[in-house]
Amino acid sequence: MMLQPLAAEIPSRILPVCIDAPVLGNQYVSDRYWMLRLDAPEIATGVRPGQFVLLTPSQTPGEGPSLPRPMAVYDVDRADGAIDILYGVVGSGTTQLTRFRPGDRMTAVGPLGRPFEPPSDATRLLVVGRGIGICSLTLLARERAERGHAVTVLLSGRHRGAIIGADFCDAVGVHARQLCDEDGSSDVESIRRLLVEQYDPAPPDFVATCGSKRLLALCRDLGRRWTCEVQVSVEAHMACGLGYCHGCAAGEVGRDEESPLVCATGPVFRVS
C-alpha cells in the first residue's frame, strides 16, 4: 500500500493558533465515545474537512499526560465559532478529557494538517469509515452534501452501539449505511459486493476513508476498478502537530530520507 503526499502547496491554508478554549459541552454519547464542544472561533473559521486539532488533557503544566491528543474536527458551527470533537476514551489522556466541564478551558492548537482534497470536478463521493475514524470524514460528507453532491457514507463498527455518525448523517441529509461485526454486515467481502453492485453502473469520482486497514485496502481496490481518486486519513501518536518533532513519521530503518509526517504532510494521503 503506497500513501502519497497530496500536492505540495496547501490551498488557502490558515495558520494554526493556540487558544485556551472555553468548553461548551462534554457529554457521553455511546459505547466509549464522548462529544466535546469548544468555543473556538479562531479554529472554526478556517478548519477544513480532514483537519485536526491537538487537545491538551491537563491544564496544569507538568502534570498528567505530557503529549497532546490529536483529534479530528467532527463538525463545525462557523456562525457560532464552535467546533465539535467526538472522541473515544481509550487511555489516560482521553479519560482525563472526560473530566472537563462546561466553563472550563482546554488548550487547543489548530487547525492542523492537510484537508481532504477531492478532484475539483468530483460530485459523486463515497465515504467509508470505521470506529473513531469516522470522525475524520463527517465534515467532508456534510460540506459536500451541502453543495448538492451525491454522498454515500458507510459507517462500520464493532457492534450497533459502537457505530458513530449515523445521527449526524441523518441530520445533514446524507445517506448512511450502518455495518457492524455482530451481524456480519461489516465483512469486507460483503461490503465489496455491495459497493460493486451499487457503483459499477456509475462509479464515484472520489473515495475517502479512515479507521480501518482492511477497508483502506478495499477502497484502494475499488479506486483502481473505478479509476477514481482515493484518499485516506491516517492516525498517529503526535507531540508537536506542526512537523518539527518528527514523532509521528512512520520511519523505515535504512532509509536516507525521513518518511512523510502524518501531522504536517498528512494526515490525509493519496492512496495508490
Binding site: 493558533v17 493556540c18 506542526l242 518528527h246 535504512g254 525521513e258
Partner: protein
C-alpha cells in the same frame, strides 16, 4: 500572570554563556522546537533558538511508534534524529531559524568522532551564534551513547569542534546516562567548551503487555518531561560545582517556578522541551512571569539567583 510595572522594577533577564550574551535565559531544547512554531510563539522574544541536531548526511528517524506518554508529565521518544543533511540544512533550514533575529544555536551530531568534525567544517561559513554538540542522544545505534558516556571521546569531539568553530562558542550537551556527570563535564570544559547543556534524555523502556513487546519501534527511548526534573536538578547541581563554565539546564522544566529552581541549582540558562508539546506558548508565559518570579525571590538579575542553593 503578566508582570506589571508596579510590581517589577528593572529586572535584568540577560545572561552570558561564555562569550554568548542572551537577552534572557529561556530557549528551546533541540528536537522539541522548529520555526513552524512562529505562528504560536513570538520567537524573537526567546533568549536563543536551538535547532534540531544536524548530521552531515541526510538520515531517517526510527521505525514507528516513536512516541508514548509516560505519565507524570513525561514522555518516552525514539524519534532517532532524522536530518536533512548539512547542505540542505544550510540552504533550506537555517534561514528559517535566522529570520527571527534571535541568536541561533546549531545542534550537531555524528555517528563517529570524525562525523562531528565533518559537520563543523561544512557549517563553518554559515551564519549562526554557537554550536551545541549533541554527544548524548540515546537513540542512535552507534555513536551517541558511547561518545557521550566516555570522557576521552567527549574531550576529542569537543576539542575538534572548538578548533573548527571559527570562534563561535561551543556548548556540549551531556548525557545523563553516566555514573558520574562530573567526569564528562570536566572533559568538555578542558577541551574548550564555553558551556554545558545538562542534560539529554534518560534511556527508558515502555512495555506493551499484550504484545510482550516494547511500545516504541526502536525498543528503548529517551525519557523527558516533568517526571525527570528532580534527576536533572541533581545533575545540574553536581555539574555546576565540577566546572567553572556556565550550565544550561534541560529536563522537565514546565513552569516558571521550575526555571527558578534550575537557576538556584546552578544553571545560567534553561531549555524547554516536552512542555512545549502540551502548551506551545509555554516559553512566552515563562518570559512574562520571570521578572515577577525574580522580584519575589529578592533578585534584580538572573545572575543573582544562579547557583544560590544553600546545601
Amino acid at each position: 500572570m503578566r508582570a506589571t510595572s508596579s510590581e517589577v522594577v528593572d529586572v535584568d533577564l540577560s545572561v552570558e554563556l561564555g562569550p554568548l550574551r542572551l537577552s534572557n535565559p529561556i530557549m528551546p531544547a533541540s528536537g522539541c522546537f522548529g520555526p513552524e512554531l512562529a505562528s504560536l510563539l513570538p520567537l524573537e522574544r526567546l533568549g536563543a533558538l536551538v535547532t534540531k541536531t544536524v548530521f552531515t548526511a541526510a538520515r531517517s528517524g526510527n521505525a514507528a511508534h516513536r512516541l508514548t506518554d509516560s505519565g507524570s508529565g513525561s514522555a518516552l521518544n525514539s524519534v532517532g534524529i532524522p536530518s536533512p543533511g548539512a547542505a540542505s540544512f544550510r540552504s533550506q533550514v537555517l534561514p528559517r531559524y535566522s529570520a527571527h533575529g534571535t541568536p541561533v544555536i546549531v545542534s550537531i551530531g555524528g555517528l563517529a568522532v570524525d562525523d562531528y568534525f565533518s559537520i563543523a567544517d561544512e557549517l563553518s561559513m554559515a551564519q549562526f551564534a554557537a554550536y551545541e554538540v549533541n554527544v548524548s542522544c540515546p537513540n542512535l545505534e552507534r555513536g551517541g551513547i558511547s561518545i557521550g558516556a566516555d570522557p576521552d571521546q567527549v574531550y576529542r569531539v569537543t576539542r575538534g569542534v572548538v578548533d573548527r568553530a571559527a570562534g563561535r562558542p561551543v556548548i556540549v550537551k551531556l548525557t545523563p546516562n553516566v555514573a558520574s556527570v562530573d567526569e564528562t563535564a570536566c572533559a568538555a570544559e578542558e577541551a574548550g567548551a564555553a558551556a554545558l547543556t545538562v542534560a539529554n534524555t534518560f534511556v527508558g523502556l515502555a512495555v506493551d503487555l499484550r504484545r510482550r513487546r516494547p511500545v516504541l519501534g526502536n525498543g528503548t527511548g529517551g525519557l523527558s518531561g516533568h517526571g525527570i526534573k528532580p534527576l536533572v536538578l541533581r545533575l545540574v547541581w553536581e555539574a555546576s560545582r565540577a566546572v567553572d563554565i556556565p550550565i544550561v539546564g534541560c529536563g522537565g522544566i514546565a513552569t516558571t517556578g521550575d526555571v527558578a529552581e534550575f537557576l538556584v541549582a546552578g544553571a545560567t540558562a534553561v531549555q524547554i522541551g516536552t512542555a512545549t508539546f502540551s502548551r506551545p506558548t509555554t516559553m512566552a508565559q515563562m518570559l512574562d512571569e520571570l521578572p515577577t518570579q525574580l522580584t519575589d525571590l529578592g533578585c534584580r538579575r538572573v545572575a543573582d539567583l544562579v547557583g544560590s542553593l544553600q546545601a
